[in-house]
């Protein structure tokens, strides 16, 4: 298969903190990421569409369709936001980049067919939190698998 990856950028702040742990336990678990006032990153998001190359257009996916999906469903939600306070999915969950990646993968999967007209499928997302931390979610293909077994999972954390 051929895959096309588009790279997007957003800047946001977050704080890693579990309410049921003490200050000392949070500090031990998350270190500097537990700073009460939060901190931010310039995240780099790669979105990969996999499929066959359309014989007429020569494309797996029309760029502007993918761009509009990511802009409307992801960047408008995360760009210049405080993820803990401004993104509803993190009201009760901790915005580690693993969890951010899974939320983004879910949002893209849910909205994919409303934006992307070609048969290409979402196969992967990758988030670079800093130059040294990368997170990857692979989305298995539907072939021969039930819907339940297609839940995305974080498969790689590149330190």
């Amino acid at each position: 298969m051929t895959s096309v990856t588009r790279r997007y950028h957003f800047s946001a702040s977050h704080r890693l903190h579990l309410r049921d742990l003490s200050e000392a336990e949070n500090e031990q678990l998350y270190g500097k990421c537990n700073n009460p006032y939060g901190h931010g990153h310039d995240y780099v998001l790669d979105v990969t569409a996999q499929g066959t190359v359309d014989p007429v257009t020569g494309q797996v996916v029309t760029r502007h369709e993918l761009d509009r999906l990511v802009r409307e469903q992801i960047l408008n939600v995360f760009e210049h936001r405080n993820i803990n306070l401004d993104v509803q999915q993190f009201e009760n969950s901790v915005p580690t980049t693993e969890n951010i990646a899974l939320v983004i993968a879910d949002l893209l999967r849910e909205q994919w067919s409303a934006y992307v007209s070609s048969p290409a499928r979402l196969s992967r997302i990758h988030i670079q939190e800093t130059d040294r931390n990368g997170f990857e979610v692979l989305i298995p293909s539907a072939q021969g698998e039930s819907e339940e077994s297609r839940e995305p999972e974080v498969v790689g954390v590149h330190g």
């Binding site: 298969m1 588009r6 190359v53 257009t57 020569g58 797996v60 760029r63």
Partner: protein
Amino acid sequence: MFITRKAEFSASHICRVPSLNDAENQKLFGPGANPNGHGHNYIVEVTVEGDPDPRTGMVMDLKDLKQILEEEVVTPMDHRFLNYEVPPFDRVIPTAENVAAEIWRRLDPRIGRPGAKLAKVRLFETADLYVDVTRGSGSL
């Protein structure tokens, strides 16, 4: 084990379907449909898969890979207008997908040897767009 070698080339192209009108091409390709063309600094990363030779310790001599990349990709495509100067792009739209597939087609027969085979071609058209072709991607 996988080894990857990188090469760069700069080229211009036009992305248009001849049977579609200007508005339809604009919708499909955006500014890439400009009939006068535009250019990119392409980066190609070629990955070869194999086991290191027990004597040389190498999957493939990187000098050989560099030479093959020069002959098959950089020399024919660098500082060229793909649609006008590099077949098959007189007939095939030089989208990133099709350029990556053509690079695969040119490299695959030259790299295949006992113990090593082409595993992936990754072509960056810009820093924010790349295409991966792997075995089984099919032909144009």
